[in-house]
């Protein structure tokens, strides 16, 4: 590849990303706008009369909740991976009887409206005393990600050539060892994908958090937004500021993780 072409692509990439992120920019713009200017017609493209009022409110009220969100997000990732990867391996490679109906059920399970799920969890958690707890929230959030994880892993693991696992079986490896030492390392990309979405869903979840953790002392940051949604009035600059602040650490995490993963994959390729 010539250097010139690569630069051209970077430029195009930056432009595309800018278009994609324009609504995010607009959100930042609103977060800096004082109430009197919010519905100005025509709107200002830049927060010329910017106020950091929203951010001051967030700094005052919200920062402790970031840790809770992070914990819930990572917990959801772990639980999702532990549950979905082995199941997908079985569905894709061990071909259990009744496997197809099961993947079908997983697909349908996702159609249950989140609010009905939340109501179900409320009843269950109330019975076992898990309301307003972080583990409770992790389990609830994972219900979005587990069926997704199983289906995505299955799709990817289906693509792993059977001769690889067959060779391992001939070598005398059991199902578990095949899974651990052959399937898992090959599935690195899909693990990253599933983890990413599990994290993102847990991070931005609202319905479970408000139904199951509404009265908790340890709340995720998304609930912090409610602080600015009063009965009659919403403080939009603070709402947007919360969302911005909440997304910064996660965005950094995403970028770093992507770089790390990209590096890992290249390293792996060299080893091959």
């Amino acid at each position: 590849m010539t250097r010139r072409r690569a630069w051209w692509k970077t430029l195009l990439g930056v432009v595309l990303t800018a278009i994609m992120l324009f609504p995010v920019y607009w959100m930042i713009n609103v977060s800096l706008t004082p109430t009197t200017e919010m519905r100005k017609s025509p709107p200002d493209w830049f927060p010329v009369h910017g106020t950091i009022e929203g951010y001051l409110a967030v700094a005052r009220d919200q920062l402790p909740y970031l840790g809770v969100s992070l914990l819930v997000g990572l917990g959801t990732v772990v639980l999702t991976l532990v549950l979905s990867a082995p199941a997908a391996y079985s569905l894709a490679k061990l071909r259990p009887r009744g496997g197809r109906p099961l993947s079908f059920i997983l697909l349908i399970a996702q159609m249950i409206p989140a609010i009905i799920m939340a109501m179900g969890f409320y009843a269950i958690y109330l019975g076992i005393g898990m309301l307003n707890s972080i583990p409770g929230l992790i389990v609830a959030d994972s219900t979005i990600a587990v069926p997704f994880g199983v289906l995505i892993f299955t799709a990817f693991m289906n693509g792993i050539p059977d001769e690889l696992t067959a060779a391992a079986t001939i070598d005398g490896a059991g199902a578990w060892r095949t899974f651990r030492s052959i399937i898992l390392p090959i599935s690195r990309n899909s693990i990253v994908t599933v983890s990413l979405f599990a994290f993102l869903w847990a991070w931005s979840d609202f319905i479970f958090a408000s139904t199951l953790d509404g009265g908790g002392d340890l709340q995720p940051i998304t609930l912090g937004i409610y602080k600015y949604i009063g009965n009659n009035n919403q403080e939009w600059n603070s709402i947007m500021a919360t969302a911005v602040v909440a997304s910064i650490p996660a965005a950094v995490l995403l970028v770093v993780a992507q770089r790390y993963v990209a590096a890992g994959i290249t390293a792996g390729a060299v080893k091959d």
């Binding site: 109430t35 583990p135 578990w176």
Partner: protein, 414 residues
């Protein structure tokens, strides 16, 4: 091979057990059964955190009654669902503060105690305000404060357009004023016509002001009210965005300082000063003059049904504390509401003369679920806001939209 797979299976089973164990362990850690010294309080004020004056007040009333009160704020729509769900699971809070039109729904669901059971004294409360909590001859709860709608106007804009606010007494003079404002290059009026309860809330002063009745949505009077709004939109006196405006969005539009009028509530009183607008307040005029009845807003403090009836006595003490004249004044000044009793209203006006027009407006206001509509109101209201949307967006004429609404509402409440 067999042993190897067994080990795999064992690990998989172990993983399953860990999952179950997670659930199992947690069940032993603390249930939700409230102890006799701990009382729960839910309200729709998520904006107040643990250090807010409101929380302190609730807690101090608990302390006076010899118990601790744990207050939790929920988003107002989430609160209704949560209250129903908790009622279903027998886990209702000891005190529940809800938006007044919700009271009839919750009472209908059988999760609220009436004053006959909980022995609360509501005799001092203004009749028109408590009406929203009266269903089938029983009263459920005490209003914590009330609010209503009026027209905020921007003096600077009106002056530039050569309009005297005092000349606006009915719909015709208001429309004339809007025409002058538009001719002067400014914007007329903003309100909220969204397809939720907020939209009905904002339309009702005009609806009632025409003489229409909620039991007959397609009356000529109702058509006149909807035509008024539709014409404002057509002539450009009101912006197209009113169709999706919430009351907050509408307020933001008024706060730009470009609009002559904004229909909004008591609760914006603090914000209007912040926005730096030289404002005045007009009661919403009826079609042929005089003030129109505006709907009452505001929350009711209710006592949900408990398994242990012995709790009501303490709960009553806490409620009485929160609804004392002094606390009414404190609370309603914080919320920018009007107190529901004459004594507390007088104290509020003594402290802040700007509240006077709002006290009058609240006295003239009318509960949405009053006229013994109760749980029929939400059904009617849904059709009403739908009709407003249909007409404002130009999908149907006001006549056709209201006719359809009446048919649907009649079918829904039969």
């Amino acid at each position: 091979m067999t042993t190897k797979f067994r080990r795999g299976a064992a690990i998989a089973v172990a993983a399953a057990l860990v999952g179950v164990g997670l659930v199992g362990c947690a069940s032993s850690g603390g249930g939700t059964s409230a102890s006799s010294k701990s009382y729960t309080f839910w309200d729709p004020y998520p904006q107040f955190d643990q250090s807010a004056a409101w929380t302190k007040l609730v807690e101090s009333c608990g302390t006076k009654a010899g118990v601790t009160v744990k207050r939790t704020g929920y988003d107002t729509t989430a609160l209704t669902n949560k209250a129903l769900l908790a009622g279903q699971q027998g886990n209702s809070p000891d005190m529940l503060l809800v938006d007044n039109p919700v009271v009839s729904t919750l009472a209908d669901a059988g999760i609220l105690t009436s004053t006959a059971e909980n022995k609360l004294d509501t005799s001092a409360i203004d009749k028109n305000i408590i009406a929203a909590g009266e269903i089938g001859g029983k009263t459920y709860g005490v209003p914590i404060g009330a609010n209503t709608l009026a027209l905020y106007y921007n003096k600077t804009v009106l002056k530039a357009a050569g309009v005297d606010a005092a000349s606006i007494t009915d719909w015709a003079t208001l429309t004339d004023a809007l025409a002058k404002v538009k001719a002067a290059g400014k914007k007329g009026i903003t309100f909220s016509g969204i397809n939720t309860e907020e939209g009905s809330f904002q339309f009702l002063p005009w609806f009632w002001g025409s003489g229409a009745n909620l039991t007959q949505l397609d009356s000529p009077q109702a058509v006149a009210a909807l035509t008024l709004w539709t014409d404002w939109l057509k002539k450009g006196y009101a912006p197209n965005s009113v169709i999706q405006n919430t009351q907050t969005t509408s307020w933001q539009e008024f706060a730009t300082g470009d609009y002559a009028f904004g229909e909004n509530g008591t609760w914006q009183l603090g914000n209007v000063k912040q926005a730096g607008i030289d404002y005045g307040i007009l009661t919403i005029p009826a079609e042929s003059g005089g003030p129109a009845a505006a709907p009452t807003g505001g929350e009711f403090l209710t006592i949900p049904v408990q398994k242990d009836a012995a709790r009501y006595a303490t709960t009553k003490k806490i409620v009485n504390c929160l609804t004392s004249t002094a606390n009414f004044v404190t609370t309603d000044n914080t919320l920018s509401y009007i107190a529901p009793t004459a004594d507390a209203q007088a104290a509020q006006v003594a402290g802040n003369a700007a509240l006077k027009p709002w006290v009058d407006a609240v006295k003239a206001a009318k509960g949405r679920t009053s006229d013994n509509l109760g749980t029929k109101y939400p059904k009617i209201s849904e059709q009403l806001w739908t009709a407003v949307q249909t007409a404002l967006s130009g999908s149907q004429t006001p006549e056709a939209a209201l006719k359809a609404a009446q048919t649907a509402a009649a079918a829904a409440i039969k």
